[in-house]
Amino acid sequence: MYEINGEYSGYYSEIDPKKRLVILDSLPEAGAADFAREVYNDRYSDHESKGRENIDWWLWRCICLQILYGRGNFLRRFRDKEIAGIIGELRLNDTDESHRQHLYHEYRNVCRRYLSTCKGGSYASRFMGFKQASDEEKVLKACEDVWQMSAGVARKTGNTEAMKLWVEAFRDELFAYDDICREEYTRLQEGK
């Protein structure tokens, strides 16, 4: 459904922003590349103007979504307002089909970058970092994280339709990550 032109596949599979920029510069100008560049600039710029470098704003927003999933329903209005803001920032309101095609792959790229951080020694560790998690525990925790920041938060806040593309992209990337993810994702969806 969201098949992408071969020359873009390398761009969307790379997670290092600097290498991505090199690939982006090598792509033919105009059209889709303009949109990809616009998204690139949007994703890797400091929206808080704190003069920071090496920002991945969309990755940050995806962490925020997971935190918002963990919030209770107290002060729900503030949470829902923030979710609406994030939906706008992630361009989920964009209805242009070609744009949505690129956004789908950009979202998968965000998810892939998040998943790349789920293999480190401190990830999913217990007892203040004293007990390291096994590889399987890390994968299961990654599944839970990804589900919470996509399908979980969309369902909890009643944004299933508005976040459909985001949820699909994260789900597909998760299924490609490890064999046990599909089963775990289904379990989380069913609320078991």
């Binding site: 704003w57 329903n73 401190s122 990830y123």
Partner: protein, 338 residues
């Protein structure tokens, strides 16, 4: 869906149900437990636990730990009393210097954990030993007594503005825990203000968001642009600050500074925080749960005293509560993973 929402809300607030049941049990065995003087007394007792638990909440949220807070509280006690009693410093100036010192100890913890890379439990254990030792050196191993009686003369004499302010709010220093606005002790009001600030930091500020993010996935937080190292400095500094503030409350409550006091205080604070639902794995927890945890421990201590439970048995019970709280957290994580 509604059922799920109800179940989630119940799960999130179950700790308050535990608190109500606890109150009901103690009130059943001793009707005086719910008397106004006892409620006021509990609010005084929990004030310094509550204040110290705010900093500990931040630290545990990033999957860290601060074992040095008891030593910070004791050192602040000794330093503040020493400055007023032995050096004749103004009370307010002594308080400010003591709290700044506590914050700097927190920064030192942050340096050891973040820059050197020492595991938090080892770094803060080292701090605990160092600063407890310093408190012994400064006090010569002896208590600094009569702070309540002496401080007004030492700190406020000759300064009518300060003296007026102190009379109004603190009744010459000692009043922190002994009177208050209406029936509410000032130390309880300070605790409530601190909880409000802590809650604001966690829920409404970007810093709070960073705490959750670092505790959830440190590497992803770094990649997304958070300066994790700096944030760790800030978090340990905040833990030191709140421990320092708790130290001032303790000094005003006891009226004497003693280097050998508050042994095991850090574990009581950890119990409050973990009991309140803050996960020792980091990234999960709410300030409202911590408030419930503090109230549960405060009521438990008070209730046991009223039921004439011996001090040793109280230690056993508190240890069991900590084990159950951490065990429950680990068990629920394990069950989720399986």
């Amino acid at each position: 869906m509604n059922e799920n929402r109800f179940a989630a809300a119940f799960k999130q607030n179950a700790i308050w149900l535990v608190f109500i049941i606890e109150i009901a049990i103690f009130a059943y065995f001793n009707p005086k437990f719910l008397s106004l003087p006892n409620i006021i007394n509990i609010s005084r007792q929990v004030s310094y636990y509550g204040i110290a638990s705010i900093g500990m909440t931040f630290v545990i949220l990033i999957a860290g730990i601060d074992l040095s807070i008891a030593s910070i509280v004791v050192l602040v006690n000794v330093v503040c009393a020493y400055l007023m009693m032995n050096m004749g410093w103004n009370m307010w100036f002594a308080i400010i210097v003591s709290i700044v010192m506590a914050t700097l100890i927190g920064v030192l913890n942050g340096f050891m954990v973040s820059t050197i890379g020492i595991p938090a439990i080892i770094a803060t254990f080292a701090s605990q030993t160092i600063f407890r030792g310093l408190a012994y050196i400064l006090s010569g191993g002896l208590p600094i007594p009569d702070v309540l009686r002496y401080a007004p003369e030492a700190g406020l004499n000759g300064n009518p503005t300060l003296a007026f302010f102190a009379r109004w709010t603190l009744n010459h220093w000692s009043i922190f825990p002994r009177t208050g606005v209406g029936l509410i002790p000032v130390c309880a009001i300070i605790m409530v203000i601190c909880f409000a600030v802590g809650s604001f930091i966690l829920n409404k500020s970007y810093f709070g968001r960073y705490f959750y993010a670092i505790g959830g996935n440190e590497e992803a937080s770094e990649l997304s642009g958070i300066r994790v190292s700096k944030m760790k400095y800030l978090i340990y500094a905040l833990s030191g600050f709140f421990a320092g503030l708790a130290g001032i409350i303790v000094l005003s409550r006891t009226g004497s500074a003693q280097a050998s006091s508050l042994v095991g205080f850090e574990f009581e604070v950890i119990t409050c925080v973990v009991l309140g639902g803050v996960s020792v794995a980091g990234g999960i927890g709410h300030m409202s749960g911590v408030i419930a945890g503090v109230l549960i421990i405060g009521s438990l201590k008070s209730g046991m005293v009223m039921m004439n439970v011996s001090e040793y048995t109280q230690m056993v019970v508190q240890g069991l509560v900590l084990a159950i709280a951490v065990g429950f957290d680990c068990f629920s994580k394990k069950r989720q993973a399986s």
